[in-house]
């Protein structure tokens, strides 16, 4: 898409991910968010931020959490974002949706509802979410959204515990004619604690996932990776905002460029040293990766590299593992 390239080149934040809250009605075992008691942005602060990112060029916005529907003002936020001319994606577990809420949602400019679904077996899904009855509620939400004609994408992080359930989810999505996305990459907590990485699939399991033609598209080799000086779009055409107003280059690259309670978005986006440094990173600076013989197969995420080992310039272990498997495909 030409607009993406243009915005990447000109550092226009075409895509913004806005985490509206870290509160959630579920307690998923793989969730990377550590609970804290910081004060969330209020509606007026959010309105101001939406105005600011709109004038900087954000067209596509994703509202995520935590669980966005626990915010009592979420519909007000959606209404404001719609009037400001954003195309909206929502990430949710769908457990708090009912017919009335979905009817209301239809009034807004929603492109897609991304819904977390881990298994079609209660004992597995509810074990992962830590809440009994959550699968039934999520499925109910999916059916209501489907009935009202929303574009839905089921999002499923794959772990050892739900690995054997993914085929069933694919069949379910195909039956309902909805999209799906499986992710074998469980990320560390946002404070760097790696204890949840034990949930990750083992090598054999990852290999099976990557070999499965029903989900292989995402792992197709991107030709020309080596020729590019661009590492990823973080901080270029992409930004992320936390519930506390921190601006990050990406939801996975948790190095704060500034806080919107203290500065305007324009000032942070145009003058932050963090963003300037990230935009200027070149392939040659990745001392280990640049000489790696499987880099051609690698989809390294700088955010993950930073979270895993605190080194923005280092390799990401999970990316290395996946690259090795892809090389042998």
């Amino acid at each position: 898409m030409l607009i993406e390239k243009l915005c990447e080149k000109k550092n226009i934040p075409l895509y913004s991910i806005f985490e509206l809250t870290y509160r959630c009605n579920l307690q998923c075992i793989h969730c990377y968010i550590k609970k804290d008691s910081k004060k969330e942005l209020n509606f007026y602060q959010i309105k101001s931020i939406l105005n600011q990112i709109s004038s900087m060029g954000t067209l596509f916005i994703t509202f995520t959490g935590g669980e966005v529907f626990v915010r009592k003002d979420f519909f007000k936020i959606l209404n404001y974002a719609t009037n400001k001319g954003f195309a909206i994606n929502i990430f949710t577990n769908a457990t708090l949706l009912d017919k009335q809420k979905v009817y209301e949602l239809k009034k807004f400019n929603i492109s897609e509802m991304g819904i977390s679904l881990y298994s079609l077996r209660d004992e597995i899904h509810d074990y992962i979410t830590g809440v009994r009855g959550s699968l039934k509620k999520t499925l109910k939400g999916i059916y209501i959204l489907k009935e009202r004609g929303f574009n839905i994408k089921v999002k499923c992080p794959l772990m050892k515990v739900n690995y054997s359930d993914y085929s069933q989810i694919i069949d379910f999505c195909n039956r309902l004619k909805i999209k799906y996305l499986f992710d074998p990459v469980i990320v560390p907590y946002n404070d760097g604690d790696k204890s949840i990485l034990s949930l990750r699939l083992d090598k054999t399991q990852i290999e099976k996932i990557i070999r499965d033609i029903r989900i292989v598209k995402r792992y197709k080799i991107k030709k020309g990776f080596l020729k590019s000086n661009v590492l990823c779009s973080a901080g270029k055409n992409f930004c992320s905002i936390s519930p506390y107003g921190d601006v990050y280059p990406c939801i996975q690259l948790l190095i704060s460029a500034g806080n919107l309670k203290e500065s305007k978005f324009k000032k942070i986006w145009n003058h932050s040293k963090v963003l300037k440094n990230i935009r200027e990173i070149k392939m040659g600076e990745l001392k280990i990766c640049k000489n790696c013989d499987i880099i051609y197969y690698c989809n390294r995420c700088p955010g993950l590299a930073h979270l895993e080992d605190g080194n923005l310039y280092g390799p990401s272990k999970i990316a290395c593992e996946i690259a090795k498997i892809r090389k042998n495909l």
Partner: protein, 93 residues
């Protein structure tokens, strides 16, 4: 629908849009469709801030681009007709 010069038009509420580097990008979120307007299209887009008659836009385009009214009317009507067909614009009356 037959398009008259005194038709009033407005932007659909079911679209998202931005002007980036001088060009307008319009998204229909439900369809996940993206359209790009060139500079002239962007000028017309900016003219449609509230309900506006097609003939007012034609007049503005004539003035801005120094073209004949006949030529401007033809181009503006085609542009608007296309956007109405795509549900980006709608007739008010």
């Amino acid at each position: 629908m037959y398009q008259r010069i005194d038709h009033r038009i407005r932007k659909s509420k079911k679209i998202a849009s931005r002007i980036i580097e001088g060009n307008t990008y319009v998204v229909i979120p439900e369809k996940r469709a993206l359209y790009k307007f060139n500079k002239v299209g962007t000028y017309i887009w900016k003219c449609i801030s509230n309900d506006i008659r097609v003939k007012c836009i034609v007049r503005k385009v004539c003035k801005k681009y120094d073209v004949s009214e006949k030529r401007a009317e033809k181009d503006v009507k085609n542009f608007i007709k296309d956007l109405v067909k795509k549900n980006i614009l709608e007739y008010v009356d």
